[in-house]
Each structure stands twice: as structure tokens, then as C-alpha cells.
């Protein structure tokens, strides 16, 4: 017992000791942000230590043609599936001082008995201006575009990968499309599209839910976005998967200033050079990119014939089966619902309903299937035909596991059941809802197509001959409107005539005058002096009465003076008016036979008076 305790404590000390870490990865990661640099520009060198959060910064040995400066550490801790891991990254600034191709590393450090070693990394230093000519940081010139895109390929590219290029027909193959970005601002990343025939694919998982991380590829640190999907190969032989294509936009600064990371740039950093201000003041532009990955040659094999169980119906993957049978106590002819739950990892489209080892003594209906969260569930109704049935036979499900390249047969059951005899004279009455539950629903797949052509031509019309565009129609619309306005005007006039007596009399005055003058002319023609002057007098009375809204009978030669004064009549008209009245009085009350000429003169005077007064009214 004592010996066991000592052994336990010793083991515990060993496990607690940091020395146990050497059992893990003791590699020092080395990466730079770019591998080609101009003289005077700076690159950032990162040395990362997994599981070694306390590893101190390494004093860089003198590197030929670079001046180095330690920038500081950055630590990272992550918890994945409850497992805690930590890392530290020490960052250095290397400023290139002469052209050529140089190696940095291999570097080594020993900390608490662990030796960390890195690989060597190669950096190319070119003369000034050589890179900036085709840098994407400058405005893109058409002639330099090809060169820019070529260079961009190293800083942003797409890769497609599968875990294994040897797969089986209908196997669910995880496909990963990775977008690698190095020190570039990328926007509007669209889902990738995988080209090729001979396979089907699921939709991509939302990249926000998938992995986004940084990784060191050939010594360069890339930001990586992973797009994950599954492919199912539908024919055997060698099938080309891909290329994958992805569209995105690259944000390019419009500024003509060099964007290198030389010492000068670092210290003369303009506050307004910040991307926020650049965006705000519109100094950046969008450069659309179509990225294409390489193709993958996938070798698709048919499933092996050897060892294929009789129950195999095409399922590929790794599955588990769970079977439930309810109820277990029933009468002959009553339904039992079998529920098969197939869970696991694989192509669920290829999973068919497991079958009873023997259906003898049972009436079995077509199963119904549904898939829920990685589980395919089949429900099948079976009916024991007699009370002699004591168990539901074994249920077998076979699938092909591509990992171990073998067929697997899973069995469940048998399930004991107790079946009572059905009473002969009793008939079971089921309502419609029960029948619906018991009997499987036949889902009919409806065809889709357009509805047939029309036999009747309908109402023809001249092309473009629309009612509202016809001039006749538009002019025709003026008729009702004109009618409305005329009616309105007539109605208003009528209203005024009935309401305003003075206005009505004034309007009637010329008519009365015209009628009187006509009669006077007739009497003049027949040389009837008395009647002539009577008519002239009456016409004058009535005209003036209506014209000036006075009682016609009250207008005599004496009243005329007052009228002339109140209405401001001109002297000539006033004289004529007085003269006319005087002539009438003389002719009517003194017995005289005026000559035809005098009568004509009086008539002319009357016409002139009426004419003058009407003209005055119009004015």
C-alpha cells in the first residue's frame, strides 16, 4: 500500500510538471506577413508557441540584411470541447536593408527544459518601386491589371479540399472550400460555387457559423474563412470536383501614397489615413474579384459485392438503430406502430426503412419517413393477423461503412407481444381520424407544368389601340364637360334673372325698344300720326322705365330732367330726349297733322337715343 502511494505521488508530480509538455508539440511556429518586400520596408515576423504561454521572447540572432525590433507578445487561450489550450506569439519588426533572398531561421529556444525549434523561412527583398508598380494599394491601371491580379493570387486565393480523394458511390463526402486572405480588406464575400458533374452537393453552412481563423501557410500568415458542405458522388470512376468559384470585392485605397510598412511610414502615419476616414471621404474603391480554386480528382468506387448482406439497401455511413413497437398487448387485426430511428453520420438519402426478418403472420403497410436533426425516423404500421403471433421478428438494418470499408448488419428484437383473439360478432368501428392515424398516407407527387393554350381568341383589337390614347375619345370627353358648364351658366343666369328685378328689367329694355320701334315704323308707313306718336311715347316710357328701373307710367318730360341729372347723361342725348317727349306731347294733345318728315325725324331721334343709351350701358 505504501509503495502504491509513493508511486501515485511520483506520477502526479511528473504529470503536474511542465516537463510533461514536451510530450506535446514543442514546435515553434514561424511566419511573416509577406514574403516579398522592398528595401526599406518592414515585415512582421511572428514566433508562436503552442501550450507555452509563459515562453519568453527570443533574442533574435543578427539576421543578415534585416534590422530587427521586438514589438511585443500576444497570448491566446481557447476552450474547445472542454479542452483548454493556450499559446503565445512574439512579434518582431524586420526592416529590409538590402536586396536579395534571405533566410530567417531556423530559430531555437529552450525554456523549462523544453526545446522549441522553428523551421527556416525565406524572404525576398527587392529594390524600391518594384513592388509598388503593381501593388493593389495603388489605383488600378488597365495595363497593370493582369500583373496586379497575378500578384493578388498570392495574397488571396481559394482552395478546395476533401478528407480523402478515394470515396465510394453515394458516400457523404465533407468538402471544404477555404478562402485565404493575407493583409487585404475583403468585402461582400459570396458563397462559393463548386463546378463539375457526377456529384450532388448540399448547401453551404453559413460561414459565420463555421470556422474563421488564422493559419500559417508556407510561412505566411493568412486569415482563413472555411465554407463547409457535403458532396455525394453519383457515378463511379474518376470525377473532377471543382473548381470552386467565389466572388468577393476587394477594398482598394485610392490614395497614391505608397502603402509600404517602412520605418518612415510607421512614424509618419497620418491620422486621416485611417480606413475609417478613408471610407468616410471616399478614398477607397471596390475591386471585384472572381476567385477560382484548383480541381480535385476524386476516385469514386462502386460498393464491393463481397460481404454484401441481403438486407443492404444502399445506406452508406456509420449508423445506429433504435426500434420501438407500441402497443405490445393487442387483439388480432389491431395495428402496432413500429418506429425505427436511424442516427449517425452518413448519407441519409440512401437510408431506407429497415425490414422485418419475416413478415409472415403480419399485414404490413408502407412506412412513412421523416428526418429530424440527424435522425431518420421511419414509422410502419403492422397488424398481427392471428392470436397465435407471440413476437415481432428481428429487425435488420445493413449499411456500408466507408471508413472501415465493410458492410455492417445491425439487429434489433425480437419483440414479444401478446395478441388476443378478436371477438367474432364484434366489429370495430373506427372513425375517420383513427383510420388516418393507422393507415399510412399516400403522398401523391403532383406534376408541374403550365396550363394549356386558349382556343378562343378573345376580343381582338388593333395593336396599341388603347381607348385612352385615341384622340377622338379624348375630344369626346369634352362634350359632357361642355354640357355641364353650359348648364351651370344657364342655371346661374336664370337664377339671377329671377332674383334681381333691376337686372331683368335692364335686359328687357332693348327688346321692348325694338318692338316699339317696329310698331312705330308700321304706323309711319301707314301715315297714322296719332298712333305713331302714342307708340313712340309709350316705347320711350317703357324703355327708360326698364333701363333705369323706374315705373314706366311715371316717366314724362318733367321726370326726364331728374333722370338726366341722376344718370349723368350727355347734353346731346338729353336734348334729343326732351325734344322727343315734346314732339310726342304736341302731336298727342294738340290737333295737328305733322308731316311725314317730322315723324321720320322723331323716329330717328328715338333710335339714336336708344342706341346711345345701349352703348353707354356696354361701356
Amino acid at each position: 500500500m505504501r509503495r502504491f502511494l509513493i508511486l501515485f505521488l511520483f506520477s502526479a508530480c511528473i504529470l503536474e510538471s511542465p516537463c510533461c509538455l514536451w510530450a506535446k508539440d514543442a514546435v515553434m511556429g514561424i511566419s511573416v506577413d509577406k514574403k516579398v518586400v522592398e528595401v526599406g520596408d518592414a515585415i512582421q515576423l511572428s514566433l508562436s508557441f503552442d501550450n507555452g504561454q509563459k515562453v519568453p521572447a527570443l533574442d533574435l540572432p543578427a539576421i543578415n540584411s534585416f534590422k530587427s525590433q521586438y514589438l511585443g507578445p500576444s497570448t491566446m487561450m481557447s476552450i474547445i470541447n472542454g479542452q483548454v489550450s493556450s499559446s503565445i506569439t512574439h512579434r518582431y519588426l524586420l526592416v529590409a536593408v538590402k536586396t536579395g533572398t534571405f533566410k530567417v531561421g531556423p530559430l531555437a529556444i529552450s525554456y523549462k527544459g523544453i526545446d522549441y525549434k522553428s523551421e527556416a523561412i525565406e524572404i525576398q527583398v527587392v529594390s524600391r518601386g518594384q513592388l509598388s508598380k503593381s501593388s493593389p494599394g495603388n489605383s488600378v491601371q488597365p495595363q497593370a491589371q493582369a500583373q496586379t491580379e497575378e500578384e493578388l493570387k498570392e495574397r488571396i486565393f481559394l482552395a478546395i479540399s476533401v478528407p480523402d480523394t478515394r470515396v465510394y458511390l453515394n458516400e457523404r463526402v465533407p468538402v471544404t472550400v477555404k478562402l485565404y486572405v493575407n493583409q487585404l480588406e475583403v468585402r461582400d464575400i459570396q458563397y462559393p460555387e463548386i463546378l463539375g458533374t457526377g456529384f450532388m452537393q448540399d448547401g453551404f453552412v453559413n460561414p459565420r457559423q463555421s470556422r474563421q481563423y488564422r493559419d500559417n501557410v508556407s510561412g505566411i500568415l493568412y486569415d482563413i474563412i472555411e465554407f463547409n458542405t457535403y458532396a455525394y458522388f453519383t457515378r463511379d470512376g474518376e470525377i473532377a470536383l471543382g473548381p470552386a468559384k467565389l466572388k468577393c470585392n476587394l477594398l482598394i485605397r485610392e490614395s497614391q501614397r505608397r502603402r509600404g510598412r517602412g520605418i518612415d511610414d510607421l512614424f509618419s502615419h497620418d491620422f486621416f489615413d485611417d480606413s475609417f476616414f478613408s471610407d468616410m471621404f471616399g478614398r477607397s474603391r471596390i475591386y471585384p474579384l472572381d476567385l477560382t480554386s484548383a480541381q480535385l480528382a476524386i476516385n469514386v468506387s462502386s460498393l464491393p459485392e463481397d460481404g454484401r448482406p441481403q438486407q443492404f439497401s444502399g445506406a452508406i455511413g456509420s449508423f445506429k438503430m433504435q426500434v420501438e413497437a407500441e402497443p405490445r398487448e393487442l387483439k388480432a387485426g389491431d395495428p402496432i406502430t413500429l418506429t425505427f430511428k436511424i442516427a449517425g453520420d452518413g448519407n441519409f438519402d440512401s437510408v431506407n426503412c429497415p425490414r422485418l426478418d419475416s413478415e409472415e403472420g403480419f399485414k404490413a403497410y408502407q412506412p412513412q419517413a421523416r428526418t429530424e436533426d440527424g435522425v431518420k425516423i421511419f414509422e410502419q404500421v403492422i397488424m398481427p393477423e392471428s392470436e397465435k403471433i407471440t413476437e415481432i421478428p428481428k429487425i435488420k438494418f445493413a449499411y456500408f461503412n466507408p471508413q472501415i470499408e465493410k458492410y455492417i448488419l445491425i439487429e434489433e428484437g425480437p419483440f414479444p407481444i401478446r395478441v388476443a383473439a378478436q371477438a367474432e360478432d364484434k366489429s370495430v368501428v373506427l372513425d375517420a381520424s383513427q383510420i388516418k392515424q393507422i393507415l399510412p398516407q399516400k403522398t401523391q407527387v403532383l406534376g408541374r407544368d403550365i396550363i394549356y393554350i386558349k382556343e378562343e381568341a378573345g376580343a381582338w383589337q388593333k395593336k396599341g389601340d388603347f381607348l385612352h390614347l385615341r384622340t377622338g375619345f379624348l375630344i369626346f370627353q369634352l362634350l359632357p364637360l361642355s354640357f355641364l358648364f353650359i348648364s351651370l351658366a344657364v342655371g346661374k343666369r336664370r337664377e339671377r334673372l329671377s332674383a334681381d328685378v333691376h337686372y331683368a328689367r335692364k335686359l328687357r329694355a332693348p327688346k321692348i325698344a325694338r318692338a316699339g320701334l317696329a310698331r312705330a315704323k308700321r304706323y309711319l308707313k301707314n301715315n297714322k300720326t296719332k298712333e305713331f306718336y302714342d307708340v313712340i311715347f309709350k316705347t320711350l316710357q317703357e324703355y327708360l322705365g326698364h333701363r333705369f328701373s323706374r315705373a314706366s307710367a311715371g316717366i314724362t318730360a318733367q321726370v326726364v330732367d331728374e333722370l338726366i341729372e341722376s344718370k349723368n347723361l350727355d347734353a346731346q342725348t338729353a336734348d334729343k330726349l326732351k325734344n322727343c317727349f315734346l314732339n310726342c306731347d304736341t302731336a298727342r294733345y294738340a290737333v295737328s297733322q305733322d308731316s311725314m318728315q317730322t315723324m321720320q325725324k322723331t323716329l330717328a331721334q328715338l333710335e339714336e337715343i336708344i342706341d346711345n343709351l345701349e352703348r353707354r350701358k356696354r361701356k
Partner: protein
């Protein structure tokens, strides 16, 4: 009483004259030869000769005649020939003549479901209501109804003003005709907006690049697919500035789209 009879006679004469002139001016033309051509095109379609059927329907259109069933059958022919864009275009035109046809509604919905972009345009409640109202009757019918109601309103109002004692029984009739007239105008206005101002078009090529500027070298903003319905915002030297159902705006070449209501515009 005597006055009422006089007014009624007057009103009847006015209406008869109006309807008579209208009937003479706007009678629809039926042409026997067009009917023969239509039947021949239908025969081609039934025999599965969709190319010939399409040509025959197009020939009728070139001859200057059109009808709802003609556009519908032409759209069917295009669909059978794989031209989804032109099929949707002609269904849209057919909808103008027979907006309530169920077969047409089914086909147009079916074809729209095949369009790749799958953008569902958002509409306000009022716009939706007006759209529903206007989809009940054809354009010419609602135009004629509006004109007739307008005429009735004018005549009734005219008679009311003419009558010496302002016939009170005309007031409800005037009010009702005014309500109907406003409804007809509300029904007509979305159609006029849709056809005259909105300038709808359909993409007729499988895929078209929508660019930031009317130039082949300009950056592609997005892609638009056959059958997508767009609004033409402006036109410039063989390019059209379009607005998609999800309000994206860009330039496409003029030949990739075709206007729905070409008869209204001098393009």
C-alpha cells in the same frame, strides 16, 4: 310634373347620343383572317411544333392585332421552347387584357417560381390594395367605365343646374355616380402608373451583368437572370438603367430586356 318629363326626355336623348357616338367611335374590330391565323397557330401548338406556333402567333402581332389569349398562347409557346423570359413577358402582356384569367395567373406564378433570383418585391398596404382593385378589370374596360361614369356625372349635374326648381331627387344619383367615378379613377390610376410611368421590363437572356455605368468595361455590380421583372429608370445609348424588385439599381444593355407595354412608348 311636366318639367320632370321634359327633363327625363332631355336626359335620355343626351345619353342615347353619347352612347351612340361612343359605339360608332370605339367599336372593336373582328377580323376573320386573324381568327384563321390564330386557329392555325393553335394547331401547330397542339402538334408540338412550338417553333412554328410561336412564329404564327408573332405573325398575327406583326399584322397589327393583339388579344389576351394571343399573348397567353405565345407565352406558352416560348415556355415550351425554353424561353422563360419571353414567356413571362408575354404573360405580363396577356394580364393586361385578361387580368382575372385563372389559367394565366397559374402560368405566370409557375414561371415566376422558375426565375433564379427569387426576389419578392415588397409593397405597401395601399399599393397592394390598389393593385388588387386594378387587377379585376382590363385597362380598356376600366377606361370606358371611368368615361361613362364621368359622362353620367356631368349630365346629371347639368340637368340639376338646368332645372328651375333644382330637382332634389337627382342629388343621390349625382352623389352615387361621383363615388363610382372616384372608385373607377382609383382603379385606373395604378394601371396608368404601371404602364406609363413605371416602365416595366423583363430580362430575356439567361444571365445579364448589371454594371455600375453604361459601359462594357464598367464593374459588374450584380447579375440578373432571365424572367426577372425590372423597372427601367433611364435609357442612354443602347443601355438601360434598371431597378430590380429589391431596389438595386444598375445598367444593363438594352438588348437583354424587353418592355412589357411597348405600345405606350416611343422607344
Amino acid at each position: 310634373m311636366k318639367m320632370n318629363i321634359k327633363l327625363t326626355v332631355y336626359f335620355l336623348i343626351c345619353s342615347a347620343v353619347y352612347i351612340g357616338i361612343g359605339a360608332v367611335c370605339f367599336a372593336e374590330t373582328q377580323t376573320v383572317s386573324v381568327l384563321d391565323d390564330f386557329s392555325r397557330a393553335n394547331r401547330f401548338y397542339k402538334e408540338g411544333q412550338f417553333e412554328k406556333a410561336k412564329d404564327a402567333y408573332e405573325a398575327i402581332l406583326d399584322g397589327g392585332f393583339e388579344s389576351g389569349p394571343l399573348y397567353y398562347n405565345l407565352a406558352n409557346s416560348y415556355y415550351k421552347l425554353g424561353g422563360l423570359g419571353r414567356a413571362i413577358l408575354n404573360y405580363e402582356r396577356a394580364e393586361f387584357f385578361m387580368p382575372q384569367d385563372r389559367d394565366l395567373k397559374f402560368n405566370i406564378e409557375f414561371c415566376r417560381s422558375l426565375v433564379q433570383d427569387g426576389i419578392v418585391p415588397r409593397q405597401t398596404l395601399i399599393a397592394n390594395l390598389l393593385d388588387k382593385l386594378s387587377s379585376k378589370v382590363s385597362f380598356n374596360r376600366i377606361t370606358f367605365m371611368s368615361a361613362a361614369l364621368y359622362c353620367l356625372l356631368c349630365i346629371l349635374s347639368g340637368v340639376y343646374f338646368l332645372s328651375r326648381r333644382r330637382l332634389q331627387f337627382l342629388k343621390p344619383a349625382i352623389f352615387l355616380s361621383l363615388i363610382f367615378f372616384i372608385t373607377a379613377i382609383l382603379t385606373l390610376s395604378p394601371k396608368i402608373y404601371q404602364n406609363h410611368l413605371r416602365r416595366e421590363a423583363v430580362i430575356i437572356v439567361p444571365e445579364a451583368a448589371c454594371r455600375f455605368a453604361p459601359s462594357d468595361t464598367s464593374t459588374t455590380y450584380f447579375k440578373i437572370y432571365e424572367g426577372a421583372k425590372v423597372d427601367i429608370v433611364a435609357e442612354d445609348a443602347g443601355w438601360a438603367r434598371i431597378r430590380t424588385a429589391d431596389s438595386k439599381i444598375g445598367w444593363v444593355k438594352g438588348e437583354v430586356l424587353q418592355r412589357v407595354y411597348t405600345a405606350f412608348f416611343k422607344s
